[in-house]
Amino acid sequence: MEFYPAAGVVLTKERLEKTESFLRAMGLRYEGGADYTVQLVSEYGEILGNGCLCGNILKYIAVSPALQGEGAALTIVSELVSEAFRRGVTKLFLFTKAGNEMLFRGAGFYTVVSTNEVCFMENSRGGFDRWISSIERREGVKAAAVMNCNPFTKGHRYLIENAAKQADSLYVFVVSEDRSVFSFEDRMSMVKEGVSDIENVVVCPSGDYMISYATFPTYFMKEGADAETANARLDLALFARKIAPALGITKRFVGTEPYCGVTRNYNELMKELLPKEGIEVIELERYGGVSASLVRAAMKKKDILTLSRLVPESTLRVIRERYM
């Protein structure tokens, strides 16, 4: 079947509707975020293939069954990779169904980790190894906690303090993805300052390999809870099979989650899956009604009194300097 590649497609309202329905037919859900779109179209303008670049992630890649086996997917990937490089984005990631690994291998992508459902790939062999080897190594019993800290509260402090007592060293991974109210740089320095008196804590960025936008594309696969579960499984597989063994982590700490459904679902899965891989999951009770969302609400009202009850001095300073 003849097809014509169209690069840099502008997703106007009409075009977007067509794209969404094409993706839906291919079992994918469009959730926005496309910076650059490549499509393959028939001579009648019908969409036969699609792929988007969203930051450093190749997403929404699908090819109509009528074109499969003609290198059509490679054309899309090649176009997206070239555009990413033109934009100066060279570390690229993608998610695909487990069966499509070989196709992307031919486009220079290597598997970081895969589950029965999803495969997570990056465009440099050994990219993960280079990241993990940059993290400080510690002796003894090692534990980990992954946190966004948007911003760092007394609740985070409480969790870290208690977790640190139950291990020789505690790795605190701060989510690197810059999609929160507080910038990654500020979140990182708030955590570092907030726990500087606890000696056995190592604060490091989560990089591209933990609950990042990269490891949590809720768009992936069919609608609803299944997709979320598949993503959470992938994230946990990455932690259990790659990150924890490399650093010798045997415990993972997490705070109880009364508010957010996605996080609660994730925590439940964590308790189910990590022990099977030899990692103990310890859920710590939340520190009396403190949450980062309450902090952000108090910021809006400029309620300093409430803020000083919720966050440590160091965080309050950052809020007053840059976020109020």
Partner: protein
């Protein structure tokens, strides 16, 4: 030649090769190659890339190449272009590679 940033040249079209060169903290050229004709020409492609980089005096770099059946001259040309871009250099000596 010092590799300062990521440099890329080439495409994934048939008969082409895409070469990406990145800075590395330690000595040595670490090459990963993916090729449609790996079993037949994998070693030859690797040889051309390495010789081209040697000719330029690149001694420390990560090199990632995805080949779709490029001829030696193409492999050398793409490697040269990627290296010059990665070194932010425009002092081109196009016969500096392995193809003379």
């Amino acid at each position: 030649m010092e590799i300062k940033k990521t440099g890329v040249a080439g495409t994934m079209e048939s008969s082409d090769i895409i070469v990406r060169i990145e800075p590395k903290n330690t000595e040595g050229v670490e090459l990963t190659l993916e090729s449609a004709v790996m079993q037949q020409y994998g070693r030859q492609i690797e040889k051309v890339i390495r010789e081209t980089l040697e000719g330029l005096g690149v001694t420390s770099a990560y090199v990632n190449a995805v080949d779709k059946g490029a001829l030696d001259c193409t492999v050398a040309a793409r490697t040269l272009a990627a290296a010059y871009r990665a070194a932010e250099s425009k002092d081109y000596v196009w016969n500096g590679g392995s193809i003379r």
